[in-house]
Symmetry: C3
Subunit: 264 residues, 3 copies
């Protein structure tokens, strides 16, 4: 049993952060909220998403039966954590949420019929769930250690990505001492954003950089449009992790994108 | 002789309600105003349009000669009603009216040269008339009786149509007791707007529904965008009639669309 | 040596007036400002552009060496005028200036590396210069005498061009006594803007007209969008010259377009 109410624009913001990476995925529903992690079809980018139950105006959940609960080791003790997993086509769901003028969304899961009911005022929308076994397996979240962390205003980051899109297909993110930089290069052009520590919210000084495919960073850039700040975790020729909050701090999104080899 | 002046946005609104169904048509001009009725090329939808002469800031009309007048029986008496019929490409005319910054439009008909002169401030636009005999015949307006009438806010209707466009190709309109509903179904999705009598401006209770092609309803939905409310006349597996006012109540538009057979 | 600072939107406005005609061109830098003249690839339209050094918040220039200076005869005396010529892809430069949120642009020329550095806040953009010898030669500015001059509000002109685009491929500009007119004709339609002397800022009375390709006039119409008024210099079957100011009067743009032969 899952029934919940949430602000429509808050739900939209959450789903947009997911559809930046994948069209569909397995959403895990538990007493404490929603969770998802998924990789893109090319295995280059990953999204982890979590939304606390208190982001909802109303949130009721009860696991169907023992089958759907799992043994999870939490802080040294083994306890049973009830969880329901549903497969959702987020792009379709987002399309309907995009129809303006509705302020609150009610969600209701029919596990038996494998449908998710959505009610927005007098408009009822039902979407069939996807069979979770037909979806890509959830990725193993890699254990990564990032020597450098940068916290930057989202708009500064996004503006630079928009400019970089006009220049080339790749982008370098790096730090050089106390400066964070983003660089894109075309045949005739070169673009560089350079921000000193004092122009950032946070910077771990260092000397390293990595190259990424701009396609993925651009997609992520759209998914983060509602967040005020983003945290970039960086290494040398290493994956990039981008973390930000959604739903007024009650949701967390974590993107991971693999580096590209620099040809030189 | 026909000469008239009208507010440009009012004229645009009128023509948009026509071009939702047909690109061109025969406009009948008489002392009491303008009239048109036409079917779309596929014979699925029909528009009837009437604009009173007092919607105009100035309206002068005199029939050219006896040929163009017709014997019409009005309220039991037979009187001669003078009328001029002209063929107009409304899409072309609308294109020019769409150029912003002009507030009043002067119209002048040159029956001899078969041209319509349009003046918007210092901009003069002349369009050649179409030979009425080359246009599709005006349809016979069918005599229909609608068991159910629903009056609804246009924006509620249009928002549902926009959502339905994302789901499928057809839409059901119906009443179930004291509820009016609109339903669209896709392979994985179902959308339903349900409005109780008290959420509507008017509802005749009943139990019936019909299926329509969404293409036509979408087109009509664009043509009604300036009206505050629309009246839906409904039957069981029956044509849908949509009525609304244009030009601040001085014009009336009436759409009719044939039902589709439900395959089941 | 060339270093300068300028308001970003002012620079954008200048470059837009150039890219209306050419994608790339030779920009001449001298102590008193910037200059460019160029023809479009089809040799139908020409742009002359000049921006005074005092349009810049800061402007420093020194010619590299004797090679790049030229003997120019100015008002009867022969003096040496130092000048540097650089080839720029204006479309690429404009793309980056279009990224919002930057208020001032710093320009710096590296003549040795043949690069132009651009700095907008913390965003640095470098564009490689084009070899001036690889660009089309600057046109000889023809000596023309225009019997008629018309000064008109830019928006009135642009609105008419937008309307004319819906009608046909050509446009006639002319004067008939004390009336300036613009005319476009399609198969079924005719559009005419007619403005009497008192509706214009200036008009030389006369009787003449010329026909132009609308493609070029439309492009020019986009390049002039920031100017309040434009000056049209006209003749009979003669080139059209359009002059207007940019950068708050500190820049001047001059378009020239060849007439088309009227087929009759």
């Amino acid at each position: 049993m899952f029934e919940a109410k949430i602000d429509a624009s808050m739900l939209r913001e959450c789903i947009e952060s997911i559809t930046a990476i994948v069209d569909e995925g397995k959403l895990r529903i538990a007493e404490d909220g929603l969770k998802l992690w998924a990789v893109d079809p090319a295995n280059v980018a990953m999204v982890s998403f979590a939304l606390q139950s208190d982001a909802f105006d109303d949130f009721r959940f009860a696991a169907k039966d023992a089958e759907s609960s799992a043994e999870v080791e939490v802080e040294g003790t083994t306890e049973s954590k009830a969880e329901t997993e549903i497969g959702i086509d987020f792009v379709k769901l987002l399309g309907i949420l995009g129809i303006g003028g509705r302020e609150e969304v009610e969600l209701e899961l029919d596990e038996h019929a494998q449908k998710l009911f959505t009610r927005m005022g007098s408009l009822a929308y039902t979407i069939s769930l996807l069979d979770p076994s037909s979806l890509r397996k959830e990725p193993k979240v890699p254990e990564l250690e990032f020597p450098v962390q940068v916290i930057i205003e989202t708009e500064e980051f996004r503006r630079t990505i928009r400019a970089a899109e006009k220049i080339g297909d790749h982008i370098v993110l790096g730090v050089d001492g106390e400066v964070f930089y983003m660089e894109a290069e075309g045949e005739m052009e070169k673009l560089r954003l350079g921000l000193r520590k004092e122009q950032l919210i946070h910077l771990t000084p260092g000397t390293l950089h990595s190259l990424y495919s701009l396609d993925y960073i651009s997609a992520m850039s759209k998914g983060m449009s509602h967040a005020k700040n983003i945290t970039l975790n960086l290494g040398k020729d290493y994956p990039l992790q981008i973390e930000f909050e959604v739903a007024e701090g009650k949701g967390k999104v974590n993107y991971l994108v693999a580096p590209r080899i620099e040809s030189e």
